[in-house]
Amino acid sequence: MRVSNSDEKLVAGALNGSTRAWRQLVQRYERRVYNLGYRLTGNGEDAMDLMQEVFLGVYRNLHRFRGDSSFRTWLFRIAHNKAVDLNRRRKLLSLTGGLDESGEFAGGELSARPESEPDHGLAERERNRLALELLGRIPLEQRLVVELKIYQSLTFEEIAQMQEISVNTAKTRFYAALKKMRLIPEKENALLEN
């Protein structure tokens, strides 16, 4: 059985031009990044776009990876920034859609809503459908905090650094997101809507 190389070794190998090291590094994280993309965008096509963007960012900045943080954290920082970029581009594309009252763009933003989901494979995953329904209730900046906290187990300190906010604000964003996603019993839900 071959001993698996550390991320840092693979980065060094890729920087030396080893195609094998690069392939191994991508293989190790592509599924994780693809699922992150799926949860942030709510569909496979955008998830694929985001994944490609993320690994392109990794490739272009590989020489800048200093090992101050783990490769994983570094990778998620890139993923975070790429998701924000993608969201901004979507907003620009949908400028004709105009703003709604809350200041959010009415259309074009990464929705994370399973309704627009063309992927039939996902439909079979009922639990994923529910998670996407919950994530669809919150804006991207909160969705990113939830993603990094719940799925990637990053600390609020790391998340705060990525979003350039205080640790307290990161905690507040996470709590606010949870409140929006809470499972309100049907009766109570109906009561609130009336």
Binding site: Y59, G121, L122, R127
Partner: protein
């Protein structure tokens, strides 16, 4: 009337740097406060639903391998160029090896025969041995000639010495005769010339 501490306490409850003391305090409050208990249940329920996500396999894609090969493949070429630099050295080593192993390569009847350490001497080897033998003979002959020449020279020297001694003797005889003559003439009054 809703609890005023809910948001503050639960926000802290979901943070990752919660101290054990604060945790106990919050849990004690939640067991006593229906508002906070209800809210906590809803929030943990949401978090639980999110954690139920089933991983989807990533679709097959190029992994930017083409880009990687194109841009970083330079390294590979450089390695090849380095390998080329070894060719002259490798050729020298090969030639040395062939020489040391006394390799003979013979092309005979459309087939190439290569043999190492052949016991038969090649034509070149035979000629070289003959040349060495002749050279040795010549050296021997020359030494003999030198010896004979030296012998003759020594004989000549001896002859010369003998001749010289004879000459010296004669001179002595001459001087003696002259002295005798002078004494004779002197006694006869030659000094008056």
């Amino acid at each position: 009337m809703p609890c005023s501490r809910t948001d503050h306490l639960l926000r802290e409850y979901f943070s990752d740097d919660l101290s054990p003391v604060l945790r106990v305090e919050i849990e004690e409050h939640v067991t006593a406060c229906a508002d906070c208990a209800a809210q906590l249940q809803e929030l943990t329920g949401a978090a639980r639903e999110l954690r139920g996500w089933e991983e989807i396999p990533a679709p097959r894609w190029d992994r930017h391998m083409a880009l990687f090969r194109r841009e970083r493949g330079v390294e590979k070429d450089r390695r090849w160029r380095l390998a080329w630099q070894w060719i002259p050295a490798a050729a020298c080593a090969l030639m040395l090896g062939l020489t040391l192993l006394n390799t003979s390569v013979v092309y005979q009847g459309g087939a190439l025969e290569i043999s190492f350490g052949s016991p038969e001497l090649t034509a070149v080897d035979r000629r070289l041995a003959e040349f060495n033998r002749l050279q040795a003979e010549e050296r021997e002959e020359f030494a003999g000639m030198l010896a004979r020449f030296e012998q003759l020279r020594m004989q000549d020297l001896e002859t010369m010495q003998a001749g010289y001694e004879l000459l010296a003797d004669r001179d002595y005889e001459t001087v003696r005769s002259l002295q005798q003559l002078v004494s004779l003439v002197g006694s006869a009054g030659v000094t008056e010339w």
